[in-house]
């Protein structure tokens, strides 16, 4: 377990837990990009994060910020600020932080799975999709250079039970946004308030190239269901995905040509891979032999 040498991964903000995971006076050890860290919330409420050696000696101190219900740190010097999710300011939204779930997979595979729609009828049968309504109609996907994010919109898919608050099957609109290589959000039709979007997000903490902890969260309009019910629904969906995520070979996402075949429905993923290649990201990718 050694710290990565990939500058693109190092010089970026990464999640290391929920805000509520860090209690005063209870240091937590964790790992980021192969590097062991210790994080502790002090009596005054501030969180301090340090890189530590394998023997536990304190090394470099890392910058920290608490945002979007989670704690963020970096092993390097990010060139830009942490991304923004303005909907966090909307007070009538219900925020649910699902907590971290380990996946023996590359964090990039987890993000790609989040962006994928074609698997809904097969992995999330009778919830997010079912046969024979398997078609993914053409949609738009692009790299937005001004904000340095990948966006996909004009996506529509028939879902039997799109959200816990949904009653009956119908066509659901989607938009996807990848804010950084290991962090992404989606916007989908809100059953309770059709003029708004419900938001589901995924922050992946890359522990190792083949191991990550995934923090899912929701920012939704839902006056009916409890936080627990919402977490259970999301966990069920994610555990269905884990079956796939832990069975993909190679573990890392191959960014080189010819390794994997894509079809029209994979537009978002293809833009995502192109964007990662432009950045020169290595961590979580498969290297061509």
């Amino acid at each position: 377990m050694t710290k990565t040498t990939d500058p693109v991964a190092i010089n970026d903000w990464q999640v290391i837990g929920r805000i509520d995971d860090f209690l005063k006076g209870q240091p937590k050890q964790t790992r980021l990009l192969g590097q062991s860290l210790v994080a502790e919330r002090h009596k005054n409420g501030d969180i301090k994060v340090h890189e530590i050696s394998e023997l536990g000696e304190t090394l470099r101190s890392c910058p920290v910020q608490e945002k979007f219900g989670h704690v963020w740190t970096t092993l390097g010097k990010p060139k830009r600020e942490l991304f923004d999710i303005p909907e966090f300011q909307q007070i009538d939204r219900k925020y649910v932080g699902c907590g971290g779930v380990m996946a023996k997979a590359s964090a990039l595979r987890v993000v790609e799975n989040f962006l994928d729609i074609g698997h809904f009828p097969y992995v999330h049968t009778d919830f997010l999709g079912s046969e024979p309504l398997t078609e993914v109609k053409d949609y738009k996907a692009e790299i937005r250079i001004d904000v340095d994010e990948v966006w996909a919109d004009e996506i529509s898919f028939h879902q039997d039970k799109a959200m816990l608050s949904a009653t009956g099957g119908k066509a659901v609109e989607y938009m996807y946004r990848v804010v950084s290589p290991f962090n992404t959000v989606l916007y989908k039709t809100c059953p309770e308030k059709p003029e708004e979007w419900d938001i589901i997000g995924l922050f992946a903490q890359p522990l190792e190239e083949n191991l990550c902890r995934v923090y899912a969260f929701m920012l939704v309009f839902d006056s009916q269901n409890t936080e627990t019910d919402l977490i259970h629904f999301q966990q069920m969906i994610f555990f269905q995905d884990i079956i796939i995520l832990e069975n993909q070979l190679p573990v890392g996402v191959p960014l080189y040509d010819g390794a994997e075949r894509s079809i029209k429905a994979d537009k978002t993923q293809l833009q995502f891979r192109k964007w990662l290649k432009q950045k020169g990201l290595q961590f979580g990718t498969d290297q061509e032999t």
Partner: protein, 273 residues
């Protein structure tokens, strides 16, 4: 950078035909290469890389529908030749030829399933049958995994005979002054004081990883076939077949005797190496 594993350039036995039913899917590993082996509803066996060409999902998690294998992730359907014939997310289009599983040659012979690379330049596997006498009726005894390298298994079997009790009976073993002689590199004889052969044990390699053993004593002659499947440098699968001189009225006892013998053999191999 790890070298990706490839199939060796010879036929490798990966299991018994009877252990793979129609519609069933198994995983086998040959020299660290993971393969999906599946039987369609026509009865045909297929051996492919256990990796969907789309996003690398293990095809072994999928399901057999008729004569096609469908991947669990996006429901892509593949025909017996490995060609993708349907992608549910774009149902009205024919998938391009480039959407193909990585396939290998796969045939059944002697009750075993054999795999070889597609580009393997060698005479057809039927040639194997010519090495064996027509009158022999080989039946599967068992498959087992041995924590020992394939090379060590071969060396051990070739140098230290381990006769089964059917051949080296208690009565024979009690004969004093019985000597073990290695007559040739591959022939072992047990003789008594007067140089009479009491039992013999002969092996020969039919092709890499596939051996025939002839064991004889007091009118009993058994022929064993060992098919070794190298899983990795420290683990080997062994598929054992038996053809006694005649299958008596109790074939199950015969197979059981050899299954138990093979367990003892495994214990020996795992201790020494």
């Amino acid at each position: 950078m790890i070298q990706k594993p490839v199939l060796p350039k010879n036929w490798v036995a990966v299991g018994f035909s009877q252990d793979l039913e129609k519609g069933q899917i198994n995983i086998v590993i040959i020299e660290e290469l993971e393969l999906v082996i599946w039987r369609d509803h026509k009865g045909q066996v297929h051996a492919w890389d256990n990796r969907c060409p789309h996003r690398g999902t293990r095809l072994s998690l999928g399901f057999v529908r008729g004569n096609q294998l469908a991947c669990l992730y996006h429901g892509w359907q593949f025909g017996g030749d490995g060609q993708c014939v349907y992608t549910p997310s774009i149902p009205d289009s024919t998938p391009p030829k480039s959407l193909k599983a990585h396939t290998h040659r796969c045939v059944e012979l002697l009750g075993l399933i054999w795999v070889a690379p597609l580009d393997f330049e060698h005479k057809d596997i039927k040639g194997l049958e010519s090495h064996l006498r027509d009158s022999m009726d080989f039946q599967p005894v068992r498959s087992m995994i041995i924590h020992c390298s394939a090379e060590n298994i071969f060396n051990r079997l070739a140098s230290i005979p381990f006769p089964p009790s059917r051949i080296m009976s208690r009565r024979l073993r009690s004969i004093s002054n019985m000597r073990l002689i290695q007559e040739t590199e591959s022939v072992f004889l047990w003789e008594d004081d007067e140089n009479r052969t009491l039992a013999s044990y002969q092996f020969r390699e039919i092709q890499p990883g596939f051996f025939q053993f002839n064991c004889e004593s007091e009118g009993t002659a058994d022929v064993l076939l060992f098919a070794l499947q190298k899983i990795d440098s420290q683990k080997t699968a062994l598929h054992l077949l038996l053809a006694p001189e005649n299958w008596s009225s109790d074939p199950i006892s015969l197979k059981l005797a050899y299954a138990q013998w093979s367990k003892k053999l495994r214990n020996q191999l795992e201790q020494i190496f």
